[in-house]
Symmetry: C2
Subunit: 245 residues, 2 copies
């Protein structure tokens, strides 16, 4: 059986899409090339409002986007974090269920939704690949639910840092020998929205982890991790969460 998890290099995209499956020879890539286009967004720009029609699906090429949900009185919860190579979109759905916002300058590689869906309808393994990706997201969402429902503020911060570290590692970035280091792509407020905390608590807990030697800071955004196991322990994850290295 063909391995659907192989990423595909998409034309001149600087990243490998995870959306589609590389069959070594097919014309599917050609068909994808025909319906693809690029879009840029400025930092802070909302890409889609909850309830809007979604005209495209696609992958993040560079930059960061967030999925957020907001209550009437302004309470906000982040429900998705999109880093480069992440897929956005809901094939088969007409409207977005959440706000999608570019938190940095952002480039996306988009496919018009209709032809993408037609492609999907005729090529089973594309639908299967998307199913796998959606199941991955669901797993991540459920980990996130444990974090939101049961973890302490300190554990939440430690979890967030290790999640980002894991993502970075998966993309083969900054494999500095020994001393792992991570750029936090979020402001304190965005971290708070991610973790179900206030920005003050985020700041305090980061300071506390620093004081206790679990992490060290270089500027506000750059984190060094002298001992990953220690960080994972602080995160309260099961030991097998350390599939990072």
């Amino acid at each position: 059986m063909h391995d659907h998890s192989v990423h595909v290099q998409c034309g001149d995209c600087p990243i490998r899409h995870r959306a589609v499956c590389a069959r070594c020879d097919t014309d599917e890539l050609q068909r994808l090339e025909q319906i693809k286009y690029y879009r840029s967004f400025q930092a802070g720009q909302t890409i889609i409002w909850s309830g809007d029609r979604m005209e495209f699906v696609g992958s993040v090429v560079s930059g960061i986007a967030t999925l957020t949900q907001t209550m009437e009185d302004g309470r906000r919860q982040m429900v998705g974090l999109l880093l480069p190579s992440d897929f956005v979109g809901r094939p088969g759905r007409s409207t977005a269920a959440f706000d999608v916002t570019a938190t940095t300058d952002l480039v996306m590689c988009c496919f018009r939704k209709k032809p993408f869906e037609e492609l999907m309808a005729t090529t089973p393994h594309v639908a299967q690949r998307l199913l796998e990706m959606t199941l991955d997201e669901l797993d991540a969402a459920r980990e996130w639910m444990l974090l939101l429902g049961r973890k302490t503020a300190r554990e939440k911060i430690a979890s967030l840092i290790s999640i980002i570290a894991r993502r970075d590692a998966a993309l083969h970035l900054r494999r500095a020998s020994g001393n792992l280091s991570v750029d936090l792509p979020l402001t304190r407020e965005e971290m708070a929205d991610y973790l179900g905390l206030t920005l003050e608590t985020v700041s305090r807990q980061i300071s506390a982890l620093k004081k206790d030697g679990v992490i060290s800071l270089e500027g506000n955004r750059h984190v060094q991790i002298p001992n990953l196991d220690r960080l994972l322990e602080e995160a309260g994850d099961d030991s097998d969460g350390g599939m990072l290295v």
Copy 2:
């Protein structure tokens, strides 16, 4: 294009599966019939432990099952609630990511995973239907994240009751005229695990909602809802959450 959202009556199952798409004539149903079987579980029995191999996928026929995640020190978070007609399983995955437990006596209609996956690989619309269902679950998980991260205990309880009421309504149950009523299929402790609270807080908030006339109780498990809008307001949901009626 064929409507994939149509449920299918599956042989002698008392419910309609949402897992598979009814094409009016095909042999897919026959192929499903060939690989299907029933399994029963006792209340309290764990169906699958996190990390176990999963040999089947299937639908809940009767009873309630939960997906839960547990930390080393015993803190527990429910991450999924499976009511009759809900689908369980992760085609393409070999191991379960969470504990699956029958909280009541339970009957499931199962399909052996391998042949089910083969069926999926050759029939694009089955994969598409599964993708849609998984996207539904993902949406639900993200609503749940807002609940866990940002809602107060009172809002959480009100949300839970309205979610169950909505589910009941979707299955065309107990459409008592005017005065809506709901059976809570969970103990206070299970509700607490669902909502990221303690069982004491759950009990207190239910009492408070009762005292304030938002709900009334008949026994411990049976809830009457005199005014659904009021309940939805208490839940802090956007007004469009009331697609119930």
